[in-house]
Amino acid sequence: MVKIGLEIHCQLTKLESKLFCPCKADYRSFEPNTNICPVCIGLPGSLPRLNQKAIEKGTLISLALNCKIPEKISFFRKNYFYPDLPKNYQITQFDAYGHTSIGNNGKITIEGKEIRITRIQLEEDPGRLIYEGTSEKNKITLVDYNRAGTPLVEVVTEPDFENPKQVRVFMNILVDLLENLGVSEPSLEGAVRADGNVSIEGGNKVEIKNVGSFHDLEKAVHFEITRQQSLVERGIPIELETRQWDDRRKITVSARSKEEEQDYRYFLEGDIPWILLDPKYVDQFKQNMPESIASKRDRYIEQFKIPAQVADVLSSDKFYSDLFELAHNEKNAKEVANIITTDLMGFVDTKEKRQQSKLTSKHLSDLANAIINNTITRNSSKSALQEIVKTGKSLNEIITELDLGHVSDEFELSAVIEKVINEESIAVKEIKEKPETVNFLVGKVMKKTKGKADPSLTLELLKKKLKIY
């Protein structure tokens, strides 16, 4: 039987500042070693001062993962030497000496399977090591402390996963959940990192570290199961060890055996006094929790009769659901959902495109209303949407500029139809035997009018002209 457990590190990218100092939590835009202060580079004499907002975010995540939240939490020191760790200890949380982390004993159900959450802990991210130089001789390691002290939440699960697919599904759900809570932007490079623990029947537990993107986690876990199974088949024992994920070769390689495992000498961080989490405070959080993805989905289906697949897509992506919430009303909800899931997703499929997009919720509701009121065809709406995303101009401006106004004028349309009938004489002849050929002619009319023609009116006029009833 395969047992898989996960440890997921998620940066709280939505926080302004680092976990223990006022430096920016968003370190990505800085030149190396410029987003630093005495605290986050651990200068002698500096002391951590807790970012209270991180406690709020940690509480939110713990509640969303159905964890118990203790009345008193503390921080611990995890002691080990590494060049990216300014103090040579990490301030983190731990369950020992009667002190616990911010959340524990949670659970989350994926595809009918319950995954237990061991604990949720807040901790600081170390700096980053950058390796440069190609040959063995001139290899150098550079240290950038801009990231040091960035607030992280670590989610630790029990070994409840049975296969790599469950890992993927869980990661997708978790990432959507974190985004929906407004605590993190998982699409940012390095914002979500995961380690896996894999063991199979009769073997020791193997930890996989260094999986750069959580998309690779499924692959890494899959590789590891296969590797372990082939060892067992050949009668080779599976050692207790830590393996690194080699991103280039897509395999795991041995990093160190557990005998050499460090003793982290965990003890309470005296520089940060206990934090008391009043149950009343926690209750307040419960009441003000952002609506969960599942609840949004059900509401969209129930209230607006949006199809289940559309509701799934819409609810699980915060960018889309936020747009939807602002754009829709009782009348146009279905159309707004439709525009987002059929057209918009194609235009803003990357983070950069989302950032550059000039689209507002007003644009969306205008567009949906225009379709409903027949002032633009669904066909033209796609071009209009693309232009809005690009320029941010109002829908009316774009309709005029690109001449996307709906052709519902009978006279104008009749002239085009006349032309098409003349040009497509072969098709016109076939029409007696094959009535569906009329659709081909409708298409030709649409093409000539650049999609502006009202499709139902065109069909009606064509039928009249060709005397098919």
């Binding site: 002698p44 002691n79 200890y89 000496y97 000498r265 003890f267 006094p273």
Partner: protein, 480 residues
């Protein structure tokens, strides 16, 4: 102009224009240059002191707003960060470390126009009680230069008693302010844990240590507390003292107060120390206090608990000195990370090394239950015990140090004997209570101090009692 004046007297003299700040600072520096080659209180001197003095004189002259310290020269233990100044912790490891920021206490003092005259010697990273573990050589006791000045804030105590400054700030982890204060006949105060910001104090054992003043008089300690005590957003462990004015009602006396003599701390002490303690009890009784004996069972385990906890925290606090970010010249070529680290860390001195090794062991996975957790239990029980005692008495007294100052080299090779000298001082740190050492007698040319404890945040009561006791004495200054 006499250098032997208290801080409050200095302020009067400046206000009365009996001398200028520049005159006083110049004379102080002259004096330091004359005697510090021998005493070695200082590790570095502020080259800009005279310039700063001139600026304060100008402000006084032009009737600009002037800070409470009016240019008084203060020395600072070299484990407290002063901006753009070397802060070495008397260690090779930080030999060239120039702090880019001011500790909160320094910020407060500077904003009140104090002049930081120099940085004082200590046992490396404040671990020791003689200054013999300074990487740059020991300080000498001005009362008798064959004797240790106590430690770890030895340089601070020497600088105050030898008139090289008006007052000093030290740090007290297990008696490091009170011990040298007792050995050099100055006042030394360890406040309630959290009363003074530790931001900028280079951590040794952060859960129990505090910055504390060393001064000529109890009044001067109260004066400095008014400037440096109170909540600090830069240190989450600081507590709100509600803007307490420590000078106000300082001479309230102790008539009617109940004083407990800690029996464990008065056994096994030198006979001169024992006799001084008895004399102090007589004085307290004369002042109207009621004396009783108090026994604290857990005290016998306090030193063991103290060294276990401090080693654990030191092992972590000093881990950052890996010579990657600051330190000394060291060629990295040919070292793999682990061998590099072990090589780099050989630059710690013997006492720090000893405690690093202990600190790696006592909290480790296989041994924490036997050592570190037991030490924490002792700390908690001792705190409960002393809290219980303070339901019966207002103050607890003892000699500050069980023995008289001793000669250099006498105990340096016997770590356990050295550890036991902390017996009377570590309790205040383990329990977070305020405690002061007041100069009380000079026995054959060697100073003896009396220690007074009170309950949490009763710092003012400690000062009131100390002030009352101080007034019963008439001790000579050191002759230099």
């Amino acid at each position: 102009m006499n250098l032997e004046i208290s801080a409050l007297k200095y302020l009067d003299e400046i206000k009365n224009e009996n001398f200028t700040v520049e005159e006083f600072i110049s004379k102080t520096i002259e004096h330091i240059k004359k005697i510090d080659g021998n005493l070695h209180a200082f590790l570095s001197i502020n080259e800009k002191a005279i310039q700063q003095a001139k600026e304060i004189d100008r402000k006084i002259k032009s009737k600009e707003k002037i800070g409470k310290c009016m240019g008084m020269p203060l020395s600072i233990k070299d484990n407290i960060c002063v901006k753009d100044t070397k802060t070495t912790c008397a260690s090779k490891m930080l030999e060239d470390f120039i702090s880019p920021y001011d500790a909160t206490v320094i910020k407060n003092l500077k904003s009140e126009d104090a002049i930081i005259i120099g940085k004082t010697n200590l046992d490396e990273f404040a671990m020791g009680l003689t200054t013999e573990f300074s990487a740059f050589g020991p300080s000498k006791n001005p009362w008798n230069t064959d004797y240790v000045p106590g430690g770890s804030s030895g340089g601070s105590a020497v600088s105050v008693s030898a008139l090289e400054c008006i007052a000093s700030l030290g740090s007290d982890t297990g008696g490091s302010v009170r011990n040298p204060a007792s050995f050099c006949s100055t006042v030394g105060f360890k406040p309630t844990y959290g009363l003074i910001s530790r931001y900028g104090l280079i951590s040794y054992s952060n859960s129990i240590e505090q910055i504390g003043p060393l001064t000529r008089t109890v009044e001067d300690t109260a004066f400095l507390l008014n400037i440096i005590a109170g909540q600090d957003p830069m240190d989450n462990t600081t507590i709100d003292n509600k803007g307490e004015n420590y000078l106000k009602n300082l001479d309230a006396g102790i008539d009617g107060k109940k004083i407990g003599v800690i029996s464990e701390m008065t056994k096994n002490v030198d006979k001169e120390v024992s006799s001084a303690t008895k004399n102090a009890i007589v004085q307290f009784e004369k002042l109207g206090a009621k004396i009783e004996e108090i026994s604290l069972d857990m005290i016998d385990y306090s030193v063991a608990s103290y060294y276990t906890i401090t080693a654990t925290e030191a092992g972590s606090n000093l881990a950052r000195y890996d010579n990657l970010r600051y330190g000394y010249d060291f060629d990295l070529e040919g070292y793999e990370f682990n061998s590099y680290i072990s090589k780099a860390r050989k630059n710690f001195g013997p006492e720090v090394t000893r405690r690093m090794i202990l600190g790696g062991f006592v909290p480790s996975a296989g041994h924490a239950g036997k050592y570190f957790l037991k030490a924490l239990k002792v700390k908690n029980k001792l705190t409960a015990e002393i809290n219980e005692a303070f339901t019966k008495v207002d103050l607890l007294i003892s000699p500050t140090v069980p023995i008289l100052p001793f000669k250099f080299g006498e105990k340096i090779d016997d770590p356990v004997a050295l550890f036991l000298i902390d017996f009377n001082t570590v309790t205040a740190n383990l329990t977070g209570k305020p405690a002061i050492s007041v100069p009380f007698e000079i026995s054959n040319g060697l100073p003896i101090g009396i220690q007074i404890h009170a309950n949490t945040l009763q710092d003012k009561l400690v000062l009131q009692a100390a002030h009352a006791l101080e007034k019963t004495t008439n001790l000579p200054g050191v002759s230099i």
